[in-house]
């Protein structure tokens, strides 16, 4: 075996990427349909289904909070990883800078969404 091998920390980012990929595949298209098509055009769903009081109540419930947090944070980690590797694939090897911008923005957005969701109270 080669000596001096260093364990890669990629599994952390790969797991977040995989989790985000799984979640976006499962709920992404339906969320786009509900929030982008059904609600604005008044299709299928009852009126006021996504009204402010209802959505606030949803985000104040711990389960709703967890769902909103997972969708925002994991989607972003997925996107960050995808964009970072696509940069690498197209020949832009910005290294640490690209890494910081991609994963850093996902990290900051994760903290912000956690802060805002907790700020809404229970």
């Amino acid at each position: 075996m080669k000596s001096g091998l260093k364990r890669s920390n990629a599994p952390i980012f790969w797991a977040l990427f995989g989790g985000g990929g799984m979640l976006s595949a499962l709920v992404g298209p339906m969320l786009v349909f509900i929030t982008g098509i059904a609600i604005p055009f008044g299709l299928l769903l009852p009126e006021g289904a996504m009204s402010y009081p209802k959505m606030l109540a949803f985000a104040q419930n711990w389960l709703g909070k967890a769902f909103v947090f997972a969708v925002i944070a994991l989607f972003l980690w997925h996107a960050a990883h995808r964009i970072f590797h696509t940069l690498h694939d197209v020949g832009i090897h910005a290294g640490v800078a690209a890494r910081l911008i991609c994963y850093g923005s996902a990290f900051v957005a994760t903290l912000v969404s956690a802060y805002v969701l907790l700020g809404l109270g229970f």
């Binding site: 364990r7 890669s8 599994p11 694939d89």
Partner: protein, 251 residues
Amino acid sequence: MSESQKTIEIEVLRYNPETDQAPHLQVFQVPFADDMSVLQGAQYIKDHLDGSLSFRWSCRMAICGSCGMMVNGEPHLSCQTFLRDYYPARVRIEALSHFPIERDLVINMEGFIDKLESIQPYIIPKEKRSLAQGEYLQTPEQLNAYEQFSSCINCMLCYAACPQFGLNADFVGPAAMALLHRYNMDSRDGAAEERMELVAAEEGVFNCTAVGYCSEVCPKQVDPANAVNINKTNAAKDYFLRFLSPKGGSK
């Protein structure tokens, strides 16, 4: 060459380290027949047009893995790639991508050989059996678990196909990972944890971005992309669970 003889143009990437600053292309007119492989075209050039042309070949039947080259930019075994599929257009043959060229179509494969050695490509038994205990028995199901990954002929087409190996030559790469997986999956082997050190390393599986071209060009249907991606899961499990169930090998 009779007048009715059809010919095909073969453009060859030439490089002579003693005289050339950089590789350059040279075109040859080669008599064409329906049953001629690209390798036979190169052999015609060497035998009749320019004896200095260098390339590796041996078996002529896709077993030995020596004659891999880029044919019109795609990695192929030249013995099982036929000129008729390109005729009457010109065919361009070049040394395998992503490897240093030694001369003409011959690449330097030392880096690949080092990688093959680094995965410990041999069975390391869990418990040694004495002669009196007899053979290591295996069921057909246990054979199935690794057989596909044992078909690799080390032709390196997958390395020429892999964009990530092209960007980072330290990446262990598709064929070596497929062979590593072949030994890990063998019921007689007990060294998966030892090999994990390399799988999980910075040179390991996480260089792969699941492009899948390696499996597409494989002339033996080994599916190295599958082996690499199964081992991403294994390496991730090892990463997160290593503190729960500490094992030897990987650090």
